[in-house]
Symmetry: C2
Subunit: 167 residues, 2 copies
């Protein structure tokens, strides 16, 4: 990104090198990423941030975050599963999941019932309200995915999904 | 998404269903991800978290985070660039970048010199110490990348890098 704003003061000598560096960049406007070009993590992070921003914006009015969405989907598809099963499935730290479930319960979206198999465990369920919110969330998440697919291209979307799943 | 909604208390029949659900999962241990299977963001996030954890662990003893690494690399490759150029290149929020630069300066890794072109701007530079730390960080980041490449496979690593760069 070139920058050509210079209502210049009085360039002291020291800055000549800097000035040249800047002038060089002005003619070659792309800023060099250098070693970052080979770091998968750098590009994964940029895409992840973009995706989350879009997802969060689209689901803001129903107040469902990406992590909450994952939790609701998995509870709904596996009614009765335990907190630890859910935590390990989603790779969420246990303490964080407990906080999330408290919050979802306080909104009456999920509930923890005593498990038949083991009284000390809790079997997770969605409430009827939780099902309604999840249905809306799924529809919005599909809109998000459609936009994402259009942005990356259907073929590349498929390639990415396969490669990342295999990780 | 089937969920038996159960109003609570101890209706024995319900618990049987839960018990069965649990027993079924025990024989088929894979928990259903349902709609998450089609959400690129879910898999991008999981991979990003894995990558960041590995990167952070490897660079912990030199106290360089992934974001700090990006900042050091880009300043080093583009000496004299401005804070706003750096922020827009890396997609970092301006306020966050300012905090990061303060911290890097307090460790004497970076410095902001008055720009020749515009006295109000700052031209970013690495200090000699910053160059040393960056050299170590680059070597560790390459070890990280080698492990990552082995984990995903060289071919898939290439595919991912290309597809994510094109985003």
């Amino acid at each position: 990104m070139p920058t050509a704003k210079r209502p210049a003061k009085k360039p002291p000598k020291k800055s000549v090198a800097l000035h040249n560096a800047r002038a060089q960049r002005a003619s070659a406007p792309v800023i060099e990423l250098d070693a970052l070009n080979e770091r998968l993590g750098y590009f994964v992070r940029r895409v992840q941030v973009w995706i989350f921003q879009d997802f969060i914006r689209r689901l803001a009015h129903i107040d469902v975050s990406p992590a909450q969405f994952s939790v609701l989907v998995v509870i709904s598809a596996n009614p009765g599963l335990s907190q630890s099963e859910l935590a390990s499935t989603l790779g969420i730290e246990r303490a964080r999941l407990v906080r999330m479930l408290h919050r979802l319960e306080s909104r009456a979206l999920t509930q923890r019932l005593p498990s038949a198999a083991d009284g000390r465990r809790h079997a997770l369920q969605l409430t009827r309200e939780g099902q309604k919110v999840l249905a809306k969330a799924k529809a919005l998440a599909e809109e998000h995915e459609a936009v994402l697919k259009e942005r990356v291209g259907a073929e590349r979307h498929k390639v990415l999904l396969e490669a990342l799943k295999a990780f």
